[in-house]
């Protein structure tokens, strides 16, 4: 409890700055990652983060300093170079993009390891701790590092939000953006530059291997909640910075715990929850939609069946028994039970010991479904020239989907016909209205 208060009161200035720095960095890379994700280039970020390593080593060899500002130029350079290499390999050789990414990733990383171990064996005074870049050194960051981290993260955030419109156009419709006069190549270069920059600063906190997660995972999680780019950007940034906060909190509470891996773990849990619970694309939301559709079809089918029974003696309010109904249409006992209970509650039918009877409202629904069914059968035979014994199945499905607008259009197109292809009466709600 005490550590909780200590941490979240931010009284320790060291904690305060490190936490702020990591949160800003996570938000920045999440924003950049959204564009990479939507442009289906998520894994390129992984290659870039591995390719940062040789750059860091080269920078160190030149400047012999481990400060962030000294290492960034080299990191940026090799990161950028890896992007160009991947683009070149996928466009100009027969290598597929996955091989190109994996090749660039592993070779750059190998060169980085070669240089890193070479530096370690050179016994330079400053070298110890350079290998912290492999797993990140969030806890060991000093004030100057954090200032650079926050400054550059804010720069990324500001650039993305001020160029929101052109970036959006470039992502979803590059041809249109070009025709509007936006400099597409420049914008693409800019977004690549931002990617490399965010990776270069992020690597310090979480290391080269896990950096890809900060780009990909927040975007992947946010996608399940919204279809709007603006909301997705904000959500991704929130997910990213929340994970940054939790990751630093965990490693503050348990000093043996590494920050980077915990940030990634929190992020991954958020992503898995989003996959399950997401409002727009989530698995559960999708299943619920499927269930609701199936329910609607079942209920409409029962009402339709009762309507058909009413047609026999032109009495739609008469009680029908279970046997009568199942002779007309096959329902399982469970389906039947649950359907009439709901419909009873919705006051579309009245149920008692003797059987089921439609209410006026229920009759209306049953009539409408029957009408659409028969109109569709007629439409298929008349306009698509299908045989009249081939149209029933199709009409069974479409009768639950047709909207009132389409219904109107269908009636007009066919000219309010009297009979369907099976010589059955097409029932209209108001007989006079059709004229």
């Amino acid at each position: 409890m005490q550590t909780l208060i200590d941490f979240f009161s931010f009284t320790d200035p060291n904690v305060r700055w490190v936490v702020l720095g990591i949160m800003a960095m996570c938000a920045g890379s999440a924003l950049v990652g959204v564009f990479a994700f939507l442009r289906k280039k998520a894994l390129v970020g992984d290659a870039v983060s591995h390719a940062i390593l040789p750059g860091i080593c080269l920078s160190f060899l030149v400047t012999e300093s481990k400060a962030t500002w000294a290492l960034l130029p080299g990191a940026f350079l090799t990161g950028w170079f890896s992007l160009i290499a991947i683009d070149y390999l996928t466009q100009h050789t027969k290598l597929k993009s996955d091989s190109a990414i994996a090749l660039v990733l592993s070779v750059f990383y190998g060169v980085g390891i070669l240089l890193l171990t070479m530096i370690q064996n050179m016994e330079l005074a400053q070298q110890s701790g350079l290998d912290k870049f492999l797993f990140g050194k969030a806890a060991a960051m000093v004030y100057e590092d954090v200032v650079v981290l926050i400054g550059l993260s804010l720069l990324i955030i500001v650039v993305i939000f001020s160029l929101y419109r052109p970036f959006r156009l470039m992502t979803f419709n590059p041809d249109y953006a070009q025709s509007l006069g936006y400099p597409i190549r420049l914008l693409e270069g800019l977004i690549s530059g931002l990617t490399v920059l965010s990776v270069a600063i992020g690597v310090q906190a979480v290391g080269v291997v896990l950096m890809a997660a900060l780009l990909i995972t927040p975007a992947a999680a946010a996608r399940y909640w919204t279809n709007r780019l603006s909301v997705m950007l904000i959500l991704a940034a929130v997910f990213g910075s929340f994970s940054g906060l939790m990751g630093t909190f965990i490693s503050y509470t348990y000093p043996r715990m590494p920050t980077g891996p915990w940030v990634v773990t929190v992020l991954s849990v958020i992503a898995i929850l989003s996959v399950l619970l997401g409002r727009k694309k989530g698995v559960i939301a999708h299943q619920r939609k499927l269930y609701r559709n199936r329910r609607k079809m079942l209920e409409e089918n029962l009402l339709k069946c009762l309507y058909h029974l009413g047609e026999l003696d032109s009495d739609w309010q008469k009680k029908r028994t279970w046997t009568e109904i199942t002779q007309k249409r096959l329902f399982t006992k469970r389906q039947f039970q649950s359907a009439w209970k709901t419909l009873h509650r919705k006051k579309l039918l009245i149920a008692d010991r003797e059987g089921l009877a439609l209410t006026k409202e229920g009759e209306k629904v049953g009539r409408r479904v029957t009408k659409i069914h028969r109109l569709w059968e007629l439409y298929l035979t008349k306009h698509l020239h299908l045989a009249s014994d081939h149209v029933h199945e199709d009409a069974e499905a479409i009768e639950h989907i047709i909207t009132p607008e389409l219904e109107k259009e269908l009636e007009l197109q066919l000219g309010y016909p009297e009979l369907d292809p099976h010589e059955e009466l097409i029932p209209y709600e108001n007989k006079d209205l059709k004229k």
């Binding site: 894994l43 027969k94 390891i113 070669l114 797993f135 896990l210 890809a212 995972t217 992947a220 773990t265």
Partner: protein, 288 residues
Amino acid sequence: MDTFWIILTGSLVATCGALVGCFLVLRKMAMVGDAISHAVLPGIVLAYLIAQTRDSLPMLIGAAIFGVLITILIETLHRQGKMQIDAAIGLSFTWLFALGVILISVYAGKVDLDQDCVLYGEIAYIPIDIWLWNGKNMGPQAVWQLGGLLVFTIILLTLGYKGLKITTFDEKFAASLGISTVFWHYALMSLVSFTTVLSFESVGAILVVAFLVGPASTAYLLTKRLSQMLFLSVLLGIMAAIGGYFLATSLNASIAGGMATVVGVEFVLALLWVSYKSKKIELSLMGE
């Protein structure tokens, strides 16, 4: 003698990697290979914690489980969760790798695996860890393990050459012949996990990707026949192992890193050669 053992170990890693890698490259699954090589880490650590030994059998089992687990995770996120495939790969392997690193740091005292080992292996220490059999020095353990893996890989490839080839190039045709694409998919994925685990001590979980994808991609540029591609990639891999050793010792740096660097150099040379040849063809066509 140490030099010999190190180069032999490197060549064995390169050979196993190249043989499996050719199929990864052709199936457009190079990044899945990368993902598996990261994802076996928690499997290795857990196996180590449970079995309390550094024997390779428990580690192999742990790694194979996690190798198959990540392929299932990726498939589930992609199919059931409707996540785009690249994001599904990126999410899965970073998560599992993060869990592996967390496990290592939690059990830092109990696990005789350090983080450097994960990142670039310790091929230089391979000759120290020898296998004593009836008191006789049989050479480094790693060589025997990798040799076993190579024999296993070759047997699997010879027996399943037709199945692997057909499922790689024409999945639908394979299905119509009654060849199970799922079986060969998971067989290949397990082979990738085995290769990663047994290469783990020598080159680490990440650099093994260079051996899986590098020589295979280079060979892919140079030839159109699968048999030639397999042969060429093995040759290139062994050359990289030899070249990398001497590069690294001259720079006093990580041998595994040196081998990966030479893999890259080979690829660039092949790329230059191929573009030079296609330029020449272009010019001769224009001349006529």
